[in-house]
Each structure stands twice: as C-alpha cells, then as structure tokens.
C-alpha cells in the first residue's frame, strides 16, 4: 500500500486532510461555544460565580479534585457537589455544610487524604460555593454515572 504512494501525494494528503479536519473541528467547537453561551444566558454567570472560579484557580483546587472528571484524582469529584449536599432543596443548609467542611480541614486522620486549611474569607467561600452551585446546573450528559445497583 505504502509502496504505491508517492511522497508528494503523501504530503498533499497530510496538508489537505489536516486542514479539512481542523475546519470541521473549528465549526463544531464554534457550535459548542454557541450552546455553552446560551446555557450561560439561562444560568447567568454572576460576579460572584466568576470570582469563585478565580478562587478555584488561585488555590489550584483541580490539583487534588476533579471537576467533571478533569484534574487530579487525589480527592473527590466536585462538579455536582452542590446537589450532593442537597443545595437544590435547601440552599442555606448546603452552604453551611460546605463551609463547615472547609473549616474542618485538615482532618489529620493518618490514613485519609489531607486537604489544607486555605483560610478563605467568608466572601471567598461564598464565591467558591456560588461557582460550584453554577457548575451543578451544567448538563454533563448524566455524568458522573449513578451506581449500577443490581
């Protein structure tokens, strides 16, 4: 097969094909961009949400946790943590629970992974929680999976 291919043909296929696939890719990413922006209209990104994302970035939370499965796998997934703590039913209680959680770190239990005490201000905590509340509204194609109970 490769014997019959000339070098020029191989080169042309490479450039042509790469450009072709990149254009398709860019178009699809464009469409995904559009849909993600629409989603942000339905669930506006408030200043607090944006500030919370900055806290997430500045404290490198992703270097232990995953957000939608991306990041380190040293600590639990947090994309839908807001729902896990019942934020959709009782937002105030969920917020308090999460704040209490932050305050309790590190646990210093010798066989459990340790989370540092970041000493976030109450405002920063609220922002971070607002961010995680916002991420919980994202349609992740039902990920993470519900346990397959048998």
């Amino acid at each position: 097969m490769i014997e019959r291919l000339t070098k020029t043909a191989a080169r042309n296929i490479f450039y042509g094909g790469s450009i072709f696939f990149f254009i398709i890719f860019a178009l699809l990413v464009g469409d995904s961009f559009r849909q993600a922006s629409q989603m942000a209209e339905a669930h506006p990104i408030s200043d607090s949400v944006a500030a919370g994302k900055r806290v997430w970035e500045k404290k490198a939370c992703f270097d232990c946790h995953t957000l939608f499965g991306e990041g380190a796998r040293f600590a639990p997934e947090v994309g839908k943590v807001w729902l896990k703590y019942g934020g959709d039913k009782d937002p105030a209680a969920a917020r308090d629970t999460l704040k209490a959680w932050f305050a309790a770190q590190p646990t210093n239990i010798s066989d459990r992974h340790q989370m540092p005490q970041f000493n976030l201000s109450d405002a920063e905590l609220d922002q971070l929680i607002d961010f995680l509340r916002w991420t919980s509204a994202i349609d992740t194609q039902n990920w993470p999976p519900k346990p397959v109970t048998r």
Partner: protein
C-alpha cells in the same frame, strides 16, 4: 566530533532537561508516598496540590527543553549549515531555565494561578511566549537559509503549533464549559497533536543516522504517520468533550476518531522496526537504537492501547476521572515523549561530549529498569482504576472509602516509581560519567555518523 560547531548549544538543554526530569521524579515519589501515607508530609507545609503541580510542570518543561535541544542539535545537520544564532540559543536556554526555576520555588511558596499544567503566573506565561518566539525565529531563520528537508519542515511545523496553541493558555473565560473546551486546545492539541509531529521528526532523524536507510523512504513514512496522527487527533479532541457540558454529538465524534488514534503509533512501530531491519547497519550506539525502538513500542502501548482502552464514550462514562486515566497518562507520556528525548540524549551526548558512546551496557540496563518501573506503575494504576470504577461507579461506594481499599496498588505504584528513579540514576551515570575501562581508547569505536 560535531559536524557543526553550533550543535554544541544542545548540551545545556539536555543537561537542564535531565535536571528537571530528576525534579519531576522526586516530586512524583513524594506524591506517590502521600497516596500511601497521607500525613507523611505536613499538609500545611507542602500540600498534595503543589506536589502534583511541580511533578506535572517539571514534566512539560523538561520535555520542552529536550525538544528545543534536539531541534538545535539536528537542524544544522538537516539544513547543512550552522544555526542562525548560537548566542540567541544560549540566551533562550537561560531565560527558560531560570523562569522554570523561579516557577518551582514560587509554587512552593504559593505563587500559582491558572489551570492544570498551566499553573504558571501570568508573567511567566508571557516569558514562555517570548522564549518560544526567540526559539522559532532562530530555527526558522536557520531553515530558511539552509537546505530544506521534510524532517526539519515537519519539526518546525510541530514547534510552531506548540507555540500557537499555547496562546490559548491566556484565554480563561468565566464560563467553565468554554474554559475547559479551550484548555484542551493547549493540552490535547499538544500531546495528541503537534507533539506527535515533533516526536516523529526526531525519531526519523535518528533512524536515518543510525540505520542509513534512504531519506526518501523515511520521509514518505513520516507523512503517513503525522497524517494519521492529525486526522485522528484533531477530531479525537472530542473524547475530552464528553462530560464537560458540551453537546452530545461529541460522544460520536470523539469515539470514532479517537478509536483511530492508536494507528499513528502502530505505524511508528512498523516504521521503526522496518527501517532498522532494512538498514542492517551496525551502528555503534546500541543504546540509542534501543531507546528509539522502545519509544515506538511504549508509545503504542501507553498512548495507543491504554488510551483506546477507555476512549470510547460508553466505557469512558464509567472510567473517566479514575486512576485508569492516570495509568494511561504515565505510560503514554513516558513512551511517547520521555523516551524519544532519552533516545536523543543517548544518541547525541557522546558527540556533544566528544567521546565514543561508552557505558552502553549501563545505559541499556537503565532502559530496562526505567521501562520496567514505569510499566509496573501503569499496571498498578490500571488495576486500581478498574477496581475504583467498579466499587465507586457500579457499587456506589464513597470516593474516600474506595481510595483506602486501593492502598496495595498505590504501594506497588510507589515501588514502580522507586525503580524508575533508580533506573534514572543509572542513566545519568551512563551518560555523564566516563567509563574508566574504555575512556582511554575512544578511537577504537568508530564515531556515529
């Protein structure tokens, strides 16, 4: 023994790369220890996040240093002229190396900001772009003024791609869906895109030198490899767009195209072995040849096979974000990018140091030790990941409860890491310390081409 004087600038790059590689391994060992003994390092002194940050950033930096050095080493031979400016290359090295050092120290004291792999403070990111521009200017001028070959063309294309896609590191929108989408333009389009071009070009250069196979044959193969790499890799980005808030069609696109992603790596195996078989030349640098062949195989296993294992959306739905990803990441980075660099160092260092390729047995022993260590590590993580997936995603156990059940596998991973470190030290000795037995008679071995 260098054909072109300016090739010598590769030396600081290679030594710098090895230094930072040792940093990567050290912090890898620390991180692996924290997995088995979570309080062994006081969390307020050095949290796991910083350990991982240094581990991953050091990886990227030393691989890039290796790519830069390899490029400077091979460009004169490919273009048949000296580098445009060796001085600029040295300046670039120190800029990059010092920036990396500042970065690491900064991380230890809490100066970081960004996203995974891109935790560098803004000022450092701007510095990286400046360094990249110096590098690309220097290389492009060299190529423009000299002989143009397919290898140098593809190499430069790859390196320009590295720089261009890095620009998306500066785009951090508040919408985390869009943020993640473009974060992958850096990460995926690097390691499953343009880096493959760089890797294939460096491998092709070494194979030409070591096997003596006709350039025409190799160049055609090169186009086939990078063609399949980009055709599958660009839309293969889709396998990262399954669960981050992007539309459902990515499940189809990602699954179909990333199912093809093992192909370029398989082609590289056939290519490398085929050329060595065809060439039948007794090149004196057996160690470099072994690293080149091993690189093709381990890249296929790590990037190809382990990648394919969890790339289909139906499988990925369950394994995404588990240790399966870590297993794949370790073997893929090692096989594809660490090994191509270690091959190039083994190939070029003897000439850069002006002596015959000595200590080859030790180098070959280090190849088996490091490779064995990394494979052990990846196997342990694969098994941990399979268990984690089942316990967490099928049986519904809590994340942290599952982690505690994986301790045995994390111990094996740590052992794999320790073996890797030992192998690395052997490699360093083999490469940098003269062999007393043969040092006196380097002329006995004919120099590599």
């Amino acid at each position: 023994m260098l054909k072109y004087q300016s090739q010598a600038v590769a030396k600081p790059y290679f030594i710098g790369a090895l230094l930072i590689f040792s940093l990567q391994l050290l912090f890898g060992l620390i991180g692996a220890s924290v997995y088995v003994a979570p309080t062994i390092v006081p969390v307020d002194l050095l949290p796991f996040s910083v350990v991982r940050m240094i581990h991953t950033n050091a990886l990227i930096v030393w691989l890039l240093l290796g790519f830069f050095g390899s490029t400077y080493y091979l460009l004169p031979e490919e273009t048949e002229r000296e580098l445009f400016s060796p001085k600029l290359a040295i300046i670039q090295f120190w800029l990059f190396f010092v920036a990396a050092a500042i970065c690491v120290v900064g991380y230890l004291f809490g100066f970081y900001d960004g996203r995974s792999y891109l935790e560098q403070p803004m000022i450092i990111k701007i510095g990286i772009v400046a360094v990249a521009l110096i590098f690309l200017f220097n290389c492009s001028m060299t190529v423009l003024k000299g002989r143009r070959t397919v290898i140098s063309g593809i190499l430069l294309l790859g390196l320009w791609g590295v720089a261009v896609f890095f620009l998306f590191a500066f785009y951090v929108p508040a919408n985390v869906v869009i943020d993640k989408m473009f974060w992958w333009w850096v990460v995926h389009l690097w390691v499953e895109g343009v880096w493959e071009l760089v890797m294939a070009a460096i491998l092709a250069f070494m194979l030409i030198k070591m096997t003596g196979v006709d350039r025409e044959v190799i160049e055609k193969w090169l186009y086939v490899i990078i063609g399949t790499a980009l055709f599958s890799g660009i839309l293969g980005t889709g396998h990262h767009y399954y669960w981050i808030g992007t539309p459902g069609y990515w499940k189809w696109i990602g699954s179909i195209f990333s199912a093809v992603e093992p192909l370029p790596f398989f082609a590289m195996v056939i290519f490398a072995f085929g050329m060595v078989w065809k060439g039948r030349r007794d090149h004196p640098n057996k160690a470099a040849l072994l690293w080149s062949l091993g690189c093709a195989i381990c890249a296929f296993l790590g990037a190809g096979v382990l990648g394919f294992l969890h790339t289909l959306s139906g499988v990925n739905y369950y394994t995404h974000g588990t240790q399966v990803t870590a297993a794949h990441g370790h073997l893929a980075f090692y096989g594809a990018y660490a090994m191509v660099n270690l091959a190039m160092f083994s190939f070029a260092m003897p000439q850069l140091l002006g002596r015959a390729p000595y200590n080859q047995r030790l180098n070959i022993a280090s190849f088996w030790t490091i490779t064995g260590g990394v494979i052990l590590m990846s196997l342990a993580l694969t098994f941990a990941g399979i268990l984690q997936t089942h316990l967490e995603r099928v049986l519904g156990m809590e994340y942290m409860d599952v982690q505690q059940q994986l301790t045995l596998f994390y111990w094996i991973r740590l052992a794999g890491g320790a073996i890797t470190m030992i192998g690395f030290l052997m490699y360093l000795v083999a490469l940098l310390v003269p062999n007393l037995e043969t040092a006196g008679q380097p002329a006995a071995l004919k120099p590599a081409e």
